[in-house]
Symmetry: C2
Subunit: 455 residues, 2 copies
C-alpha cells in the first residue's frame, strides 16, 4: 500500500514569508503576524486538517545582499520585520492537542545550556510536541547583529554544530534519569539527587559543568529537523536529524538529495526509515483546474520582483540588483550565479531565462514546486512527486495567508484521504511517536547518535 | 487620599518557589508548573483579582552553595527543576487582556540583539503588557553552565549591564521610526526604508551593526524592573528602572532602601513618581485571625529546613550546612554571615537566633514579611507597611499554590477596595500606561535614560 503523505505547514513569524508582496492581496492576513489570535486561529485550522506540524522558519538578520543594504527587503516586506518564533508556541499549544511545532533556532547565537532549557520547557508545556530545526545561519547581517564581522565559515559552523549537539544530548539524555523525580512526601524528596548527573564537557567550542535544569520531558531530545544539502550538511543530518527539509523545483534534483541522504544514513548505521524527508511545495487549488489557474493569475498581480530577488540574493549570495530584469541569465552569468541557479535553470525547463523569470519563478512559495489545479489534479501531482523523489511529505508554503492553508485543508486533504494517502486521525503520543509509530517511548531510537549519551 | 496599593503575584517556572517543601501540602498544585493549564488558570485568576502583573523570577543555575553541591536543593525541590519563564507568556496572554508580565532575563547570558527581538515579540503579542526584570545573576552554578568558572565580579557586571542597556535602547527606541511601517499597497511599500536606521555600537563589551528586526511594538522598551539594593545596583536602578523590587523582613530596612532610591533618582533628574517600588510579602488570610493562624500552623508542618537554607546559602554565599540547626548564630557567626543576616537578625526582633530560626523565618515566602490574619487585619498590616516604608505595593509570594493567591483575591482585595486602597477596574492601555497613568503614549517618559536614544 502506498504510504501516507506527511504535511507540515511552513511559516515564519513575519509577513508574506516565501511570497514577498502578496501581503498586498486583499485577502491576505499575514500582516497579522503580530497578533496572537492570528496564530491560535492558524493552529486550530491546521489541527482541523490533521496537519502534522507547523514548521516555523527563522532568520536573525535582514536580507541585505541585494543592493548591499536592507532597503529592498524592508520596502517589500521580504521576511522583515521578523519576530521570534519560540514566543508563539505556548499560545498555539494551549488551543491544540496534536499539532506538532518545528521550531527554528540558530545554534550559533545561543549557549547550549540555555537552548536546552528552552526546548525542554516547550516539550513539557506541549506534552511532547516539539521539534527543533537546527540551523547555523546564512546571513552575514545576523552575525553583524551579534558583534561579528560575518558568519563563521560554513565547514567550521558544522564542526561547531557537531560539538553543540554533543552538549545538548548530554543535557537532555544524560543528566536526569527517567525516574529521578520521585515526589515522595514521606521521604520529603522531590527529586532523588542520586539520579541527577552533572554534565562535564570541555570541548573546542563549548564548556559546560552543570546539571540540566529541567526534569525529564516527554521526548527529552526534541524531534530534530535539519535542512542542509551540502556534503557536510548531509553528513550532519545523517548523524543527527530525524526530519530533513529539502528544497528544489525539480523532482530530479530532490531525488538526488534523497538518494544521497540514504547513502549517508547507511554509513552511520541508520536506515532510511529513521528519517522523514519533507520537500517544500506550494499548492494552489480550487474546485476546477480553471479556477485554480485563475486564482494563480490573480495572486501573481501582487508579486514583488525586487522583493523576491532580495530573498534570492540572501539565499545565494548573488547581488541580483546589478542586473536588469530583462537581462538574459546566460549573458550575465557568473560562476557564483551558475552555482546558485543551477537547480532552477537547468532542471525546470529548457528555455532562455531572464532575471525576471528567476524572480517570477520564486515569487510565490520560493524555490519549491507549485502544484496547481483541482483537488484531484493537485493530489495526483503530489503523489507523483512523492513517488518520483522518495520524500515522505511536504512543507507547504503559502501564497495568500491563511487561504493557501485553508484551501489545502478543505479541498486537497479529503481527496488525499480518499486515495489512502493521508491519515484520517492523528496517531497518539508525542510528535516523535506520531511520526515514527507507536512502538517507542517517544524518545530517540537506540540507533540515533543522541541515544549514546543516555544514562 | 491614600494611594492605591499595586500588587504583583510573584512566581517562578518551578515548584514551590519561595516556600521549599510546601509542594508536600495536600492542596499545593505548584508541581503542575510543567502544564500549560496551570499557567492559563493562574492568569485568569489573577486578572479576576485585578492583579497588576505576574512577576516571574528566574535563575539559570542550581543552589549549590549549601553543602557544596546541588543535592539538598534537588531533594527539597528548592527552585530546581527550573524551566524557562518566557515560554509561558503567550498562552497566558491569550486568555487575559489586562494582566502584565514581569519577566526575568539574565542579560549576561544572551546577546542584546537577540533579547531585544524576544522582548519586542512579546510586547507585540501581548499588546504592550511586558516588563523585563533586568538581572545579572548571583549563582556561580549558572556561570558554570555557560562555560565560565564563576560569575563576572559584581561591579563589572553592572558596567556590562550599563552598556547592555545602551544597546537595547538603541535597538528599541532608535532603529525604527514610529511610522516606518506604512503598508502602502499603491506604492508597494510595507516599510519605508528611509525610516529604519542602522544601530552601530562599538563598546567595551558589545558590538552591534544591525537594524532592529521588529517593527515598533506598543511600548517599544518593555517596562523595566530591577532588584538591586547595593550601591551600584541603586545607581543602575535610578538610571534605568521603572519598577524596583525590594526585599527585607523589616519596614525600617525597606524604608532605608526606598529613601536611598529616592536620593539616587534625584541625582539623575528623575522624581520618586517615576518609579514604582514593590516590597516582597506573603499573605496568609482566612475569615478570622484564628483561622489564618491555624492555616499557617498547618502550612508550617510542610516546611523544609534544609531546603530553605539551600536557598539562603545561594542568596548569601554562606554555606549553612556547616552548622547544626540548633547552633546559635552568635556563637558561630562569621563576618560573611553577619553581613548576610543583618537584615534578619537585627531588625525583626531582639532575640537569640539559631540556624533553625533563620530557616523557619525564611521557609514560607522567603525573606519578606508575612501578613497573617483576617481580611481586615491583613489589609491593616499592608497599609501600615506601605505608609511606613513608602513603597507603592507588593510582590506577593505564595505558601501553598495557588491557594495563597486565590485567598488574597477572594478575601483581601475586597477589603482593600472598601478602604479605597485598591483599584476597582484596570486602567486602559499598555502596562506602562496602567502603572503610570494615561497621559503618555505607553512609551518611556522623556526623563528616562532610554528616551535619549529615540529617533
Amino acid at each position: 500500500m502506498a504510504r501516507e503523505i506527511a504535511i507540515n505547514a511552513f511559516h515564519m513569524n513575519t509577513v508574506g514569508h516565501q511570497s514577498p508582496g502578496l501581503w498586498k492581496h486583499p485577502r491576505d492576513r499575514s500582516r497579522g503576524y503580530k497578533d496572537l489570535e492570528t496564530w491560535t486561529s492558524l493552529a486550530k485550522t491546521l489541527e482541523r486538517g490533521l496537519i502534522d506540524g507547523l514548521f516555523i522558519a527563522d532568520v536573525l538578520g535582514v536580507y541585505d545582499v541585494y543592493g548591499g543594504g536592507p532597503e529592498t527587503a524592508l520596502r517589500a516586506g521580504s521576511q522583515i520585520p521578523i519576530n521570534d518564533p519560540l514566543m508563539l508556541v505556548s499560545a498555539m499549544a494551549s488551543v491544540t492537542e496534536n499539532l506538532g511545532f518545528g521550531l527554528t533556532c540558530n545554534l550559533g547565537y545561543e549557549a547550549p545550556y540555555v537552548l536546552a532549557r528552552r526546548m525542554s520547557t516547550l516539550d513539557h508545556l506541549t506534552k511532547g510536541r516539539i521539534g527543533w530545526n537546527i540551523v547555523t545561519g546564512y546571513l552575514n547581517s545576523a552575525a553583524r547583529g551579534l558583534g561579528l564581522d560575518k558568519q563563521v565559515p560554513h565547514d567550521k559552523r558544522y564542526d561547531q554544530a557537531d560539538e553543540y549537539m554533543e552538549v545538548v544530548y548530554k543535557l537532555w539524555e544524560g543528566s536526569w534519569e527517567e525516574d529521578a523525580v520521585v515526589l515522595d512526601a514521606e521521604r520529603r524528596m522531590f527529586t532523588d539527587p542520586a539520579k541527577v548527573h552533572r554534565v562535564e564537557h570541555n570541548g573546542e567550542y563549548y564548556r559546560v559543568d552543570a546539571i540540566h535544569l529541567c526534569e525529564p520531558s516527554p521526548q527529552r531530545t526534541p524531534v530534530l529537523y535539519q535542512a542542509g544539502t551540502s556534503g557536510r550538511g548531509r553528513a550532519f543530518a545523517a548523524k543527527n536529524a530525524e526530519c530533513v527539509f529539502v528544497n528544489a523545483p525539480s523532482a530530479e534534483v530532490v531525488k538526488s538529495y534523497v538518494d544521497a541522504l540514504a547513502d549517508e544514513l547507511s554509513k552511520v548505521g541508520r536506515s532510511r526509515d529513521d528519517l522523514r524527508i519533507f520537500s517544500m511545495a506550494t499548492v494552489i487549488v480550487d474546485q476546477t483546474d480553471k479556477l485554480a489557474q485563475d486564482k494563480l493569475v490573480d495572486y501573481r498581480k501582487h508579486i514583488d520582483h525586487e522583493g523576491t530577488l532580495a530573498l534570492m540574493s540572501g539565499w545565494t549570495g548573488v547581488d541580483f540588483s546589478t542586473y536588469a530584469l530583462d537581462d538574459y541569465v546566460e549573458d550575465v552569468e557568473t560562476d557564483a550565479m551558475r552555482t546558485a541557479l543551477r537547480s532552477f535553470t537547468s532542471s525546470v525547463s529548457p528555455r532562455r531565462w531572464t532575471i525576471r523569470d528567476i524572480a517570477e519563478f520564486g515569487a510565490i512559495g520560493g524555490r519549491g514546486p507549485t502544484f496547481i489545479g483541482s483537488p484531484s489534479t493537485v493530489a495526483e501531482q503530489m503523489e507523483t512527486w512523492v513517488d518520483a523523489t522518495g520524500v515522505d511529505g511536504f512543507n507547504l508554503a503559502y501564497a495568500v495567508y491563511p487561504e493557501t492553508f485553508t484551501d489545502f485543508i478543505d479541498l486537497v486533504v479529503p481527496e488525499l484521504q480518499s486515495r489512502g494517502r493521508y491519515k484520517t486521525a492523528y496517531r497518539p503520543g508525542t510528535l516523535r511517536e506520531k511520526m515514527f509509530g507507536e512502538g517507542g517511548s517517544g524518545r530517540l531510537p537506540s540507533s540515533h547518535r543522541g541515544a549514546g549519551f543516555r544514562v
